[in-house]
Amino acid sequence: MPAARRIAFICPRFAEQGTVGGAETLLKALAERAAADGREVEFLTTCATNHFTWENTVPAGTRSIGALKVSFFPVDDDRDVTTFLTVQGRIDKGVKVSRADEEAWIANSVNSRALIAYLREHIGRFDRVVMGPYLFGVVYAASQVAPEKTVLVPCLHDEPFAYLSIIHDMFHRVGGLMFNLEPEKDLALRLYDLPERGTVVGMGIPDAPTDPNAFARKHRLPNPYVIYCGRREVLKGTPILVAYLHAFRERTGRALDFVFTGSGPIDPPDELRPAIRDFGFVDESDKRQAMAGAVAFLHASVNESFGIVLLEAWLSRTPALVHANGVVLRDQCRRSGGGLWFRHYPDFEECLLRLLDDPSLRQRLGESGRRYVLDRYNWTAVDRRLFAALDGGAA
């Protein structure tokens, strides 16, 4: 297998401006590192920025963005959304659907014939095609163009879609697999009955200087606060966090506020509204300062394959509190010694009371988390794993 000198990266959305998402951020970062290493990189993506509507909002064409050559292709506008949602609803409920239904679902998922045609036409130029996440039509179709050159970055979760036979076949078909963490790899090997294969690469998290008092001072926050950064959705667990914090404040009488950065509705009960501080999109520096001042970083999602924001919080020396059913985030907390996990509200209350009442515990957890990220997710270490995986095909 030749060294990966010319690489295409494929992701349904490109992470810039308001387009945020862990997988998008990851694919973009990996592409940038490969380009910085002197490899010829082209990033293929769609013109969509909204992951609910998939409307083509960015003009089609090729632009240079930073060190990357990015080609935008329109999302097909003839998808049958009714078929897609009907089958998706059944899959989501755990109903076993036929192979034909699975194929109808992926065919009417987010696809771009223009992107696939471009890839087919230029596949000879590329030594490797790196793509992800796994559950989009455009990635599924791209994985069939040149499977032997394909390295899938699945960002796999234990969710009903992962159990489909078409997904099983895709994991067997592709030449290589790049995972974010060991638990994700274990899940893939177990679900798809794969022999030992694939490489755990992850992503580098850059360090940034922080002052734990700066954010509260700048925004005149009177009370201690917990923080969540990212998209606010049911799947991300934000409603649980809001409900739990509401109960916590009422039961304990503690004046603890909840800072949010990112996008999406929060919808707190009226009594909690004064304690919610929604800053929307903030720049990286402000986000890290906000994290640094928090009592804890809260994350109740049970469907994460990496948890970039968790690692950023640890770099800011802030302990984490995550849902026990989120295998990946709990595993990160266990390995790093940087966070605690809760099964239900009583655990949440007890964890938070300890973090609030014991500053030395907070500090020790935060420092452990920071050491873990610096050791494991510095770009030097990640680059080593990434380039070895690319050149070896991540087989």
Binding site: R335, G338, L340, C351
Partner: protein, 151 residues
């Protein structure tokens, strides 16, 4: 081509597993003392769909919280006044209003308590019946699978 450090890194100093175990023990102790028998927790747990789906013991916990929270306290209570000025007068006024209202509210709330109690008992009974039926069916499935394997 895995990096072995993925499996070997552990942060020195904080054993979070032991810490979480200790927290869970404390929670179990407090749970026995009735610290979490609170309608506000039952309300908050509605968002925790993961537990509702996966954790059999959660239903038991939820029902206990519901039972503890379903009984409304309809007994007399001490009437106070925070404002120092005219406090004795205001307390007397509040007491006389309460004496007038008590007759009607007692009847209303005692009936509500009865409804709440019956509702929780009904829920507990349904849960017990379903749990027992599922256990019987699981045992039957296991037996049938055993028979099939033996063929």
């Amino acid at each position: 081509m895995n990096d072995p450090s993925v499996l070997t890194i552990h942060a020195p100093g904080v054993d979070t597993e032991a810490l979480v175990r200790d927290i869970q023990d404390t929670v179990a102790r407090k749970q026995q003392q009735g610290v979490y028998a609170d309608a506000r927790i039952a309300r908050a747990e509605r968002s925790n769909l993961v537990n509702l789906r996966d954790d059999e013991s959660f239903t038991g916990f939820y029902l206990t919280a519901l039972r503890e929270a379903s009984a409304i306290d309809i007994n007399d209570f001490e009437i106070r006044e925070r404002r120092a000025r005219f406090a004795p007068l205001l307390v007397k006024l509040k007491k006389s209003i309460w004496n007038l209202l008590k007759f009607y509210t007692y009847r209303l709330w005692s009936q509500q308590n009865l409804v709440n109690g019956l509702f929780v008992t009904g829920m507990e009974s349904i849960n017990e019946q379903l749990t027992s039926r599922i256990k019987t069916l699981e045992a039957r499935v296991a037996e049938l699978e055993k028979k099939l394997d033996g063929r």
